[in-house]
Symmetry: C2
Subunit: 353 residues, 2 copies
């Protein structure tokens, strides 16, 4: 269902989803194409899904992109507050639904949308189906740490409530993602909790910890519970949580980074002396600003589906959209969905042996 490596990656883009509108989506796609052409030296083909006339008009500003794209018409758009149960009935006529269908039909190696997360999850699950042994897909992203590697965190908001079995499957998928993406033989997997002692947290988390402790046949190392203040210390490779906690943690981290940045700006402009110091050290602080900009970490993937669907932040700007598409291209080139399925299959074989 995905492109095989070596071929030109084809990315289906929901051109109509997200808060920022078509123009920002197209500018982001154009930027991703330029980046790929310059840095990665590779070609990408885009399937731009949505209202044909609007996309054609928007493309006039991006002649280079036009040459690498085809437009796939879809008359409707999923609203930001539309219920998933309602959205799935409109899969065939909406830009989101048609973009996912491009992956299902093998026309694209991945779909990217900045639209409604719940609707995207429901449509992708219905269309692409989950991998064998997986009940629910989970939204996963790589987050920066102080260590050498990023950390895989999931679920980031696809499943509001999760039982121990869901959490266990997220751990298995997250570990497969870390093995294939971060090139680790036995990733360190931790459960997000409110304390490190055994009796802390909900029954679901304690049960999942028991199951992970017992699963010694899996190529991962269960490192116990991790608290919110140690997510970015580089002490774990995979952090597993329900989608509610994961979303709270991810957004709180984003908000706090911005808060500290805002305070820093105030501190640096509080006196002539501090302004001068800021000007002198600006190259260093700009690197840091780039490093912390959520648009440079945009593009979470639904793990556990038979195909690649990426969620871009609803308020992603041109840079954010380009980052999400860049991630999609890397995942298509790495043949991620197939490799994770293979990796999961190996466990089952090993467990049955």
């Amino acid at each position: 269902m995905t492109d095989s490596p070596g071929n030109v990656p084809r990315i289906a883009v929901d051109a109509m989803g997200g808060d920022e509108g078509l123009a920002v989506m197209l500018a982001g796609v154009a930027r991703a194409r330029r980046r790929a052409a310059e840095a990665q030296g590779g070609e990408i083909r885009f399937l731009l899904v949505g209202d044909e006339a609007a996309i054609r008009a928007g493309l006039s500003a991006h002649p280079n992109l036009e040459r690498h794209s085809e437009i796939v018409h879809a008359p409707d758009v999923i609203a930001g507050d539309e219920k998933p149960s309602q959205a799935i009935r409109r899969a065939r006529t909406t830009s989101m639904g048609v973009a996912i269908d491009c992956v299902k039909q093998g026309r694209a190696g991945a779909a990217v949308s900045s639209g409604n997360t719940g609707a995207l999850m429901a449509m992708a699950k219905l269309s692409l189906r989950t991998m064998p042994g997986i009940d629910r897909p989970a939204l996963a992203a790589l987050l920066p740490t102080l260590g050498d590697n990023d950390v895989v965190m999931l679920d980031l908001g696809a499943n509001t409530e999760c039982d121990a079995k869901n959490l266990m499957q997220f751990a298995v998928m997250g570990a497969a993602y870390a093995r294939t993406t971060l090139d680790l033989a036995s990733p360190r997997v931790a459960l997000l909790n409110i304390g490190s002692e055994d009796q802390k947290g909900t029954g679901e988390i304690r049960d999942a910890a028991g199951a992970l402790r017992a699963a010694t046949h899996l190529p991962m190392t269960f490192t116990g519970f991790v608290e919110g203040d140690r997510l970015s210390r580089g002490e774990h490779d995979v952090i597993v949580c329900d989608g509610f906690s994961g979303n709270i943690a991810l957004k709180t981290a984003e908000g706090t980074a911005r808060f500290v940045g805002d305070l820093l700006k105030r501190a640096f402009t509080s006196s002539v002396r501090s302004k001068l110091g800021f000007l002198i050290s600006r190259p260093a602080t700009e690197l840091l600003r780039d490093h912390l900009d959520p648009n440079n970490h945009n593009g979470a993937v639904f793990l556990g589906l038979n195909g690649l669907v990426l969620k871009s932040h609803g308020s992603a700007n041109e840079l954010g959209v380009a980052t999400a598409i860049g991630n999609a291209v890397k995942m298509v080139r790495a043949d991620l969905a197939r490799r994770i399925a293979e990796d999961l299959g190996n466990f089952d074989a090993r467990a049955a042996a």
Copy 2:
């Protein structure tokens, strides 16, 4: 049950609780005493609860503190991983239990402990009982924002799972805290959630939102759902959540602030130029560092009890302990427990009228 304002505040300190040990607790208490004497110009009396011989030996390093303290002997200590159900059976012989009992007996206006949160909550609830109309106490703290005021956030970890009624009561208590502490007539109260749309989140949160929307007789303004990335924007006065989410959010914020600080340190030391800039703007960045140090925001209070019990961070250093005790003194001086009870009573009267 609390000191009346004007009297010398008396604070019972669990001298044995916390990860850092007796010496750090005593140093923190001594620092709080010096601060109060210098800045607030006020006297404080301390009841130092724990092993009498050990405290007496430790006090030899703090002769000024010794003059303002009495030792209340308690032979046992609650362990960090002790189950609350087990801890409450040892209330009478442990430093934590005896410190709470000092509040119950009117010997102290507040108790402060850096020990086991679950045990502290269970013991405090059993000993002091909840206020009329409140089923469960909640751990609340004031967190810094970009706005003019701090924001009250609760629950921060006392109740792992909460129903809509608990969340509603937390909102009422949090609003009372904001009215008495932040001097606001109708605090803006929001529920922590993973989206701003009505259908987002768990059933408990949606039900609590319905109840808060309907509670127009209460002196608070319900502002709907708030996501993790907007906690510190100064757009709300009270943020209500279950103890699991609240603990994840609080600790993730702490960890991210430290992460950004560590990256900033790396950025500033990455070149001679940036080092120079850092040296020049150091006075400004040091103010920021102080502002973000969790030890300067230590000391959360259990709201909803007939008496004041404060939880200091388990790993609080001397500064952190001093901050928590300073907060306890402010709350005793403000007669917070009585004023919140009165405030809650006024609602009931108004609702019944």
